[in-house]
Symmetry: C2
Subunit: 201 residues, 2 copies
């Protein structure tokens, strides 16, 4: 059955590249864009083309940036902190920044070690990271990869690497989320919360 | 706090034009497009620009189409059916087409009457529809607007209009969905199912 004009069908297919967008959602999005949101659609098209043209990776920390060196890496005050926070993605940088607890610089893996998917150390920029360790200005790496199997493996791998350069490595704490209730926390997390307990006095 | 480069921020803002996409989702989409899906992002940008350039409205039925007359209105066999199905959106056309029960033509309102939002008869093309009634070739209008307050009002309004031209108007049946269970059906629907009951023998 012939459904829609080729241009509409092409737009629907293209929208499915977005995470979490299936056929029905793509259809709804396409109609909304072409019917009621033509200005917004125009802006979206331009923003996409522009971002694709100008956004690349920061040469120092690998995050998405439209300058060769991102604004955090370019900040000389932050460089003096001599601590490096390792995260998996640019959104994680934002999440850590929002805590206001960390003043140092970041290194963004843009992924995690996953041998089954063929993602090895070079794919997540560990060669770049090692070059950074070799520079000698870093005193501590804070491993803030996700607490998943692959995130943990990646953290271990980087901790080993740091050790070879005499750099202290720490892992962010895992436990019961603030405001969470014990009975709703999974047992692995609760196990982490017990093994990572701290003295109160 | 400075978050991301202006091009990434602009893309995130632009993505929020999509239905159901909030700030977090827009962020995730932007990173995925710029990091792992650059080809898909390129295709999406081009598909958007192309669709915006070529897709307009069918002059006869108002649906989205890249030709002045859409492929259903251009089909002379369907024109001979002399029945016109009135729906709210192009997705509804697709839904009715998938039943395989209707061989006539469509008229797509691209909305519904909603005085509170300032949407009157001319905004949903009822002037175009009246011109179509005046042509004299239509014998029946099937009112397939959504069974909402506004959809019902719109259906009534069009039925009155059809009456003035001596055209038979019918409304699609509302009742318990096939495969649905009575206890999970809301009482308005169940009420419709009772008042619309049919003799078995």
């Amino acid at each position: 059955m012939k459904k829609f004009s080729p241009a509409i069908t092409a737009l629907m297919d293209a929208l499915r590249v977005l995470p979490g967008v299936g056929q029905k959602t793509a259809q709804r999005m396409a109609f909304q864009l072409l019917d009621r949101q033509r200005d917004g659609a125009q802006r979206l098209g331009e923003a996409l083309q522009n971002a694709l043209a100008v956004v690349g990776r920061c040469e120092r920390c690998r995050t998405l940036s439209e300058h060769p060196i991102c604004y955090i890496c370019a900040d000389s005050e932050r460089a003096q902190e001599q601590s490096l926070c390792i995260v998996e993605s640019p959104s994680d940088v934002l999440a850590v920044e929002q805590t206001g607890q960390f003043q140092g610089q970041y290194f963004v893996l843009m992924g995690r070690l996953s041998p089954l998917d063929g993602i090895g150390p070079a794919d997540i920029g560990l060669d770049v990271l090692e070059a950074r360790f070799r520079e000698g200005s870093i005193q501590e790496v804070i491993l803030a990869t996700n607490p998943t199997l692959e995130g943990d493996t990646t953290a271990h791998f980087i901790a080993d690497l740091a050790k070879r350069y005499g750099i202290r490595a720490s892992r962010i704490a895992h436990g019961v989320p603030v405001g969470g209730e014990l009975e709703y926390v999974d047992h692995t997390t609760l196990g982490h919360a017990f093994s990572g307990r701290k003295n109160v006095f």
